[in-house]
């Protein structure tokens, strides 16, 4: 594996959404109240660049307004008091606290603070030790996993009975699927979440809940009743593992993308529901292994996709299904170790990425990556909300049903 850059510099490219925003994004539609423990800036960054739902949906996301004196004196009482007061006024279904760099430095014990607030309000409270130094994947993963641990209800007798009854009906073989890891940071607000639902329903699955866009709190809470979970981004993997431990639900990893790959996903979901075995459908599919030769200047003819591991690997697989050519994935955000391979390489900074880009024939990436891409490579813009925010939002394609058009438009066939 290539050594990662130590300077951690970006001359010109953007930065991915941080973990604190990831928590907020994951929990946005579930009726809770999320508090970023920060001085200022996190909230406007989140709701300007990371949260396309902010103007129209009244989710309770706030900032604690931490001051120098409170941080130096370790005054958690102000945070606790302010959260309790707001909770009494606004009656959220749950409360989440998300950390930022300074609370990390001063060692705020978010679990203890959460317990104290929970004791005073009687509302479930989660404490997330995010530190602003990781990507949204990390924060959203923590949040979804905690929902799986704390909010998902045990399967009731009536649900089990319903499940048994369904097995005698014509569509009784249709597995109930939860879709895990859906936030606008990876799927924007162009209808991709709904398209994923429809694509799976069309292929004989029933959707339980989508974590967490377009599903109610109640639907999410009942997720333990599903037959199988589909992890569509790395944000949902940890929650899938928790649900597997708690309810024995197997999971499948891959994002619906194009007709053929989505078909494979649906088949895998049915297999997993029947066997209880998990399956990684988005496999590495680089055309050749170039791990040993980045930066040599040798043109590999490779297609490179920069992005989040599961969605990018799924696109690479879907392209292979459609065009016969796969792609190397450069993952510039946190991901689970099992998602990394010779076909999905972690590369954080400009210095890490550039050697791989130098040999590429085609690069599929957010437009804000273009300045570091070689001029002689074909650059195919695929805006990613978690990288460029709202700048190219209107141009983000819905690839569940629109892959063919994407392939034609960019002459990938």
């Amino acid at each position: 594996m290539w050594l990662l850059s130590v300077k951690q510099t970006a001359r010109i490219i953007s930065t991915y959404t941080g973990d604190t925003s990831g928590v907020c994004s994951a929990l946005y539609e579930l009726g809770g109240m999320t508090v970023m423990h920060d001085a200022s800036g996190c909230n406007s960054t989140y709701n300007t660049h990371d949260e396309p739902r902010w103007y129209d949906m009244d989710s309770l996301v706030f900032l604690s307004g931490l001051t120098e004196i409170e941080a130096l004196m370790g005054d958690d009482g102000k945070l606790i008091g302010d959260v309790v007061r707001a909770a009494k006024e606004l009656s959220p279904g749950f409360i989440a606290l998300a950390g930022t760099p300074i609370p990390m430095l001063t060692g705020v014990d978010f679990q203890a603070v959460a317990m104290e607030i929970e004791r005073e309000t009687g509302i479930p409270v989660f404490g997330f030790s995010t530190d602003g130094m990781h990507s949204y994947i990390s924060g959203a993963s923590m949040a979804f996993a905690e929902v799986a641990r704390r909010l998902c209800a045990e399967r009731s007798r009536s649900e089990e009975t319903e499940q048994e009854q369904l097995s005698g009906k014509p569509d009784g073989n249709a597995p109930v699927v939860n879709i895990l890891g859906v936030t606008p940071l990876d799927f924007t607000v162009n209808g991709t979440d709904a398209a994923m639902r429809r694509a799976l329903e069309k292929r004989g699955c029933r959707i339980g809940a989508v974590w967490a866009m377009g599903s109610s709190y109640e639907e999410v809470v009942r997720s333990g009743g599903a037959d199988v979970n589909l992890v569509v981004s790395a944000c949902g993997l940890e929650a899938a593992k928790v649900l597997q431990t708690r309810f024995g639900t197997p999971y499948v990893v891959g994002t619906p993308c194009g007709e053929k790959f989505t078909e494979k996903l649906a088949e895998a979901l049915k297999r997993a529901a029947a066997t209880g075995n998990c399956e990684m459908v988005c496999r590495p599919c680089a055309e050749k292994n170039i791990c040993e030769e980045p930066g040599t200047g040798e043109r590999s003819g490779q297609t490179v996709i920069i992005g989040e591991s599961v969605t990018a690997l799924s696109l690479a697989n879907a392209l292979k299904e459609e065009t016969g050519r796969g792609a190397l994935v450069l993952c510039a955000v946190d991901t689970a170790p099992e998602l990394l391979s010779e076909g999905c390489i972690q590369a954080w900074d400009e210095d890490d990425l550039i050697p791989y880009l130098e040999g590429a024939a085609r690069i599929i990436a957010d437009p804000l990556y273009q300045p570091i891409c070689p001029d002689d490579a074909q650059f195919i813009p695929l805006p990613h909300e978690a990288f460029s925010g709202r700048i190219y939002r209107a141009q983000i394609p819905e690839l569940v049903t629109g892959l063919k058009q994407f392939v034609q438009e960019h002459r990938l066939g």
Binding site: G18, G31, S40, A86, L90, M133, Y217
Partner: protein, 457 residues
């Protein structure tokens, strides 16, 4: 603390509800408000009105300068996209602080090596580099003197200055906005004084050339310099030759003081105001410092008459339509409320979380003469779920007021918009009339960051 007045619940308008109880909206009448703290501080909401400038926008005012932010990923996100949205990504770079840097404690080395790396990769060496450090450096005791000394030794042909993204210090001495406006002028190098040159300092928008603040010095033969109109780094450096620097915003006063101490420029603070007497007094002080004859009293009367006529005409048009004002439009929203109320306008509310010392007199007068004027917070948590639609037509002055009232009839202006003096009153009344007649797309306009900085959205 003033007793809070609660407004009746109303439907949420355009908001999609997520099951929260709609709370009663918190406001307070000015007659019962505490000037120092009109609202209880607590968790904070951030409304999606983004026209005010941030430290990225301000720093970009130095022509040719390159900005380098050194902070955690979560903090970099907002500033890097600010630069990208304003089309200035090529003048902006970042160094990400990760846990290993905190654990190893070599923040100084990281900055030095990172800045060096970035400068070497730039297509051209910039004349100046603004290095923005963060709360982490402050808390870790980073030796910034060592950092800047080393950078200046390594790159003697580049001017470096220390800028800060440390909002945790916003209640400890100068806040980040004041500090940024000061540091913006810190790169000016002493020059021979030009006794006929004056600088207008600390404003984000160029002052209107018709405003008395600009026109008076020009008519007296002065060269008026503003950073907002500098085209080259040399234009910027030429601001150092001014013998007088003038500030009008409270947040800019520290910049004026620094220029007085460092460059020997006479600093004159002429606070932005909508009060005829205060404007007149400001202009008298301006003429005195410029060494010119004070404005002819007849001319002042003529200008006041023009303002009166414009205000009366605007009132005829706007009538008893509710007018609301927020603190992002002008640094002194209460001064504006006072002027409009005195001319018969139906000013119903001012949106501001706190007031500067310059507002004290306006606050006291309004408390006595218009005690029912409502003050609304903008960051209070209840404002998140406050109703945003009204059946009646409302005229807003400022983006936040427009947002909270859900009105498309609004004066789209931030931070004074370059207005000043009697001329500013004339401009504003004209803008109010236009805003009253012609609705705008508030949703699209107010979400653009840094009004006037350019936007690729």
């Amino acid at each position: 603390m003033s007793k809070l007045v609660k407004k009746q619940n109303m439907p949420a308008g355009g908001l999609k509800r997520l099951g929260h109880e709609a709370p009663e909206v918190v406001s307070v009448t000015i007659g019962k408000a505490d000037f120092r703290a009109p609202f209880v501080s607590g968790l904070e909401y951030s409304a999606p009105a983004r026209g005010t400038w941030n430290i990225v926008h301000v720093g970009m005012l130095i022509p040719g300068a390159h900005e380098i932010f050194v902070c955690a990923q979560g903090c970099l996100r907002g500033v890097v996209l600010t630069a990208a949205e304003m089309g200035a990504a090529d003048r902006f770079s970042t160094i990400a602080i990760r846990q290993n840097n905190v654990l190893e404690g070599d923040l100084e080395g990281q900055i030095i090596e990172g800045v060096e790396d970035i400068i070497q990769k730039l297509p051209e060496k910039p004349p100046a580099v603004l290095v923005y450090t963060s709360c982490i450096h402050h808390f870790m005791g980073c030796d910034l003197e060592l950092v800047y000394r080393t950078l200046r030794e390594k790159f003697p042909d580049i001017d470096f200055t220390d800028c800060y993204m440390n909002p945790i210090m916003r209640k400890s001495g100068l806040n980040p906005d004041q500090t940024m406006r000061r540091q913006l002028y810190s790169l000016l190098k002493p020059r021979e004084k030009n006794l006929r040159s004056v600088s207008l300092v600390g404003n984000d928008f160029a002052f209107d050339h018709t405003s008395e603040l600009y026109a008076l010095p020009v008519s007296a033969g002065y060269k008026v310099r503003e950073i907002t109109t500098c085209k080259t780094y040399e234009d910027y450096q030429a601001m150092a030759e001014s013998s007088i620097c003038i500030t009008t915003f409270p947040a800019a006063a520290a910049a004026g003081q620094m220029l007085e101490e460092k460059l020997g420029q006479k600093h004159l603070y002429l606070p932005f105001s909508f009060d005829y007497k205060e404007i007149t007094e400001n202009l008298r002080r301006l003429c005195e410092v410029l060494g010119i004859e004070p404005m002819d009293p007849a001319e002042i009367s003529r200008r006041i008459d023009a303002c009166e006529q414009a205000l009366n005409e605007a009132h005829e048009l706007i009538g008893q339509t509710p007018v609301i004002i927020d603190y992002t439009a002008f640094p002194r929203p209460l001064s504006l409320a006072r002027l409009l109320l005195a001319h018969g306008f139906h000013v119903t509310a001012v949106y501001a979380d706190s007031f500067t010392g310059d507002e004290k007199e306006d606050f006291e007068v309004l408390s006595r003469e218009n005690p029912d004027l409502l003050l609304y917070p903008t960051v209070h948590t209840c404002m998140r779920v406050a109703p945003r639609e009204n059946e009646e037509k409302i005229l807003a002055v400022g983006q936040k007021a427009a947002y909270f009232a859900g009105t498309d009839y609004f004066v789209n202006i931030v931070e004074g918009g370059g207005m000043y003096g009697f001329d500013g009153i004339l401009k504003l009344t004209e803008m109010m009339c236009r805003a009253f007649r012609e609705p705008k797309d508030a949703r699209a306009l107010i979400q653009i960051k840094g009004m006037g900085c350019g936007c690729c959205l």
